[in-house]
């Protein structure tokens, strides 16, 4: 499952600095990710952990206040320009597409949705107007929009949230992407629509060998549709590994705390536990491990220096698992502060 040799998307040591009130902080700090062809990677973390910023840096769509300080991005072995240097020709060649969190603000309000879906086939792929329209109708149908011919001429505000999200996915697919970067695509939707959108994304992945990167704060969603997971905290990845392994036996106290704070409907287990403390101010990160002030396992050495991501030694754990915790053995031996994993993932989906 860990096909790291032929990675479709390879992000190495990505660091993004954001300027705020004349001071800069690292919104993304040395993040490395790898996605095999047809793979599905979930990035989870609280708000402000740098998940979305990571995706935008990979897409080279950072806001003006942010810039890439270091790092490289490769798609199918080829380096891709980052830091505002990517041309539209580069974008066409590298075939990365993004699905945004809020479909209403991600659709041009004064253009019909059909025209927006048809735009890339017409202008980028160079189809005739009629062929582009047929392609757009086909895409609208693919994403499960009923009666696409009627919806074609609708404006975004005339559609429901679920339909808007589908339109946005259709626009992302209209560029024929190899990797789909999804930035909390279901957060703004209610639960039944969320399930439909997730099923749609799962279908697309199974059908086309499309690689998925899925940013969310919902561990249950990651458990449903991802193979691999990366947990982010304060701009850094603190734990990675296969989804089933990480969710069943977390080796970073932050992952364990996230799991314990998730609401579990199935079991009559303990109530979800909030993580004590707050996400640190990015301008004043604590020394050493950034989670250390909130961590139940914290020891004096946690604050001594930076804690890099390291492989978890051989044993009963799968290869490809790593954690940025000095005391993860304590978690393996028996959870101290965090409860047992609540969200029981029913294994990663097909593919």
């Amino acid at each position: 499952m860990s096909a790291r040799l032929s990675a479709l998307l390879e992000v190495s040591d990505l660091t993004v600095e954001v300027r705020r009130h004349h001071r800069t902080f690292r919104a993304v700090d040395g993040v490395s990710l790898s996605l095999p062809a047809g793979g599905s990677l979930g990035i989870v973390g609280e708000s402000g952990s740098g998940k979305s910023m990571t995706l935008r840096a990979v897409m080279d769509l950072l806001p003006r206040t942010a810039r890439v300080r270091a790092g490289t991005v490769q798609v199918a072995g080829q380096p891709v320009a980052v830091g505002g240097k990517r041309s539209s020709a580069d974008r066409r060649r590298h075939r990365l597409a993004m699905v945004f969190q809020d479909a209403l603000s991600a659709l041009d309000p004064v253009m019909t949705v059909g025209a927006q879906v048809a735009e890339a086939p017409r202008r980028v792929a160079g189809l005739s107007a009629r062929a582009a329209r047929e392609r757009a109708l086909e895409l609208l149908r693919t994403v499960g929009i009923p009666d696409p011919a009627r919806r074609y001429a609708s404006y975004p505000h005339e559609l429901s949230g679920g339909l808007r999200q589908r339109v946005m996915i259709a626009i992302a697919l209209s560029t024929d992407p190899a990797v789909l970067l999804c930035d909390e695509p279901t957060t703004a939707l209610d639960v039944t629509i969320q399930a439909q959108i997730l099923a749609l994304l799962q279908d697309l992945r199974g059908a086309n060998g499309l690689g998925l990167v899925f940013v969310t704060h919902d561990l249950g969603v990651v458990g449903q549709i991802c193979d691999e997971i990366a947990v982010m905290y304060a701009g850094r990845i603190v734990e990675t590994g296969p989804v089933g392994e990480v969710l069943a036996a977390p080796r970073h106290p932050y992952t364990a705390a996230l799991l314990a704070s998730a609401i579990d409907v199935d079991s009559a287990g303990p109530l979800p536990q909030a993580i004590p403390g707050a996400v640190p101010d990015p301008l004043r990160l604590p020394p050493g491990c950034p989670f250390q002030p909130r961590c139940p396992l914290a020891q004096p050495d946690c604050a001594a220096g930076p804690v890099p991501l390291h492989n978890i030694g051989p044993g009963h754990v799968a290869p490809g698992r790593s954690t940025a915790c000095l005391h993860d053995d304590a978690l393996a031996a028996g959870p101290a502060g965090a409860g047992p994993a609540g969200a029981g993932p029913a294994g990663p989906g097909h593919g």
Binding site: S88, A97, M98, A106, P109, T112, E119, R150, A153, S154
Partner: protein
């Protein structure tokens, strides 16, 4: 209604029939009261101006010193001025001049200013910094002082008016479209368009401009009125439309000397300006409503 089921269904001919269900521009316009009222007023004014040679009955510049300063009559529907010229004819021909000057003087500032402002908001950087400083400099001068100085420098008459407005009036459009573009680029749809591999000119012209332009359209309508008033003011100073060519501003200022005894000489062209102004404002509001799909 799952994605899988829908994906399996092939595209049928039914999907390719012409897209219906959306009322045409004309149908939507007919349901926008401001647009209808504005279009009716401006249409009437335009029609009268265009038909001036047919319904004007007299030459607008022909003097007849036997019938000076007359009130309305069967021969002169709106009376005559101090040179015995027919006020009805002068009103119609004046409308031709003023509408033409107003529209033409606004075309360049509207087009250039809106494009430049949207471009500045989109690209930012040094272009934005330089352009906005120029805008600040132009705005630092009182509007009329600048226009009068420029017309005086370039030469009076319509030429001077066109050039003076071209040089100064774009800043208003640049500022408003730039701020609209700044709001727009903070929205994800600009990122989505760029991320989809569309070229920057296309993102600018096809996506940003239609979103930034609606305010500029509304302003352009009242701007036409502003130009007409500026022509009036310039006419006062002898820098506007040169006599004996008819123009509403000149008619008002000429009539001023007789305001106590023959008030209609100023009031009638004043009413024409008011009707035109109200019509253009309504038209602008209506266009803005139509531009925003709500």
């Amino acid at each position: 209604m799952s994605g899988k089921a829908a994906a399996a269904a092939p595209l049928t001919d039914d999907d390719l029939v012409p897209i219906s269900g959306r009322p045409s521009f004309g149908a939507r316009a007919a349901r926008t009261p401001a647009f209808v009222a504005g279009a009716a007023l401006i249409g009437a004014v335009l029609l009268l101006a265009l038909l001036a040679p047919v319904i004007g009955r007299y030459s607008p510049v022909q003097q007849n010193l036997l019938v000076t300063l007359q009130g309305p009559s069967a021969a002169h529907w709106l009376g005559t001025d101090e040179f015995g010229r027919d006020i009805w004819s002068r009103l119609l021909y004046g409308g031709r001049t003023d509408l033409q000057v107003g529209v033409l003087a606004v075309v360049f500032p509207f087009g250039f200013g809106s494009l430049l402002g949207t471009l500045c908001g989109y690209l930012g950087g040094w272009l934005d910094a330089v352009v906005m400083r120029v805008v600040d400099v132009v705005l630092a001068f009182p509007f009329y002082v600048l226009i009068i100085a420029l017309v005086f420098f370039v030469g009076e008459g319509t030429h001077g008016i066109y050039i003076a407005f071209a040089l100064t009036d774009w800043v208003v459009y640049t500022r408003s479209t730039r701020s609209a573009a700044l709001v727009a680029i903070s929205q994800d749809w600009v990122a989505a368009a760029e991320g989809g591999g569309l070229s920057r000119p296309r993102v600018l012209l096809r996506h940003l401009l239609p979103n930034t332009i609606s305010q500029a359209i509304v302003y352009a309508m009242s701007d036409i009125v502003l130009v007409i008033l500026a022509v009036v003011t310039l006419g006062y100073l002898g820098l506007g439309i040169q006599p004996p060519a008819p123009d509403w501003g000149a008619m008002i200022s000429d009539g001023q000397a007789f305001i106590t005894v023959h008030p209609w000489m100023s009031i009638i062209p004043g009413i024409a300006i008011i009707i035109t102004g109200v019509g253009l404002s309504l038209l602008g509001d209506g266009l803005a409503d139509l531009q925003r799909p709500r």
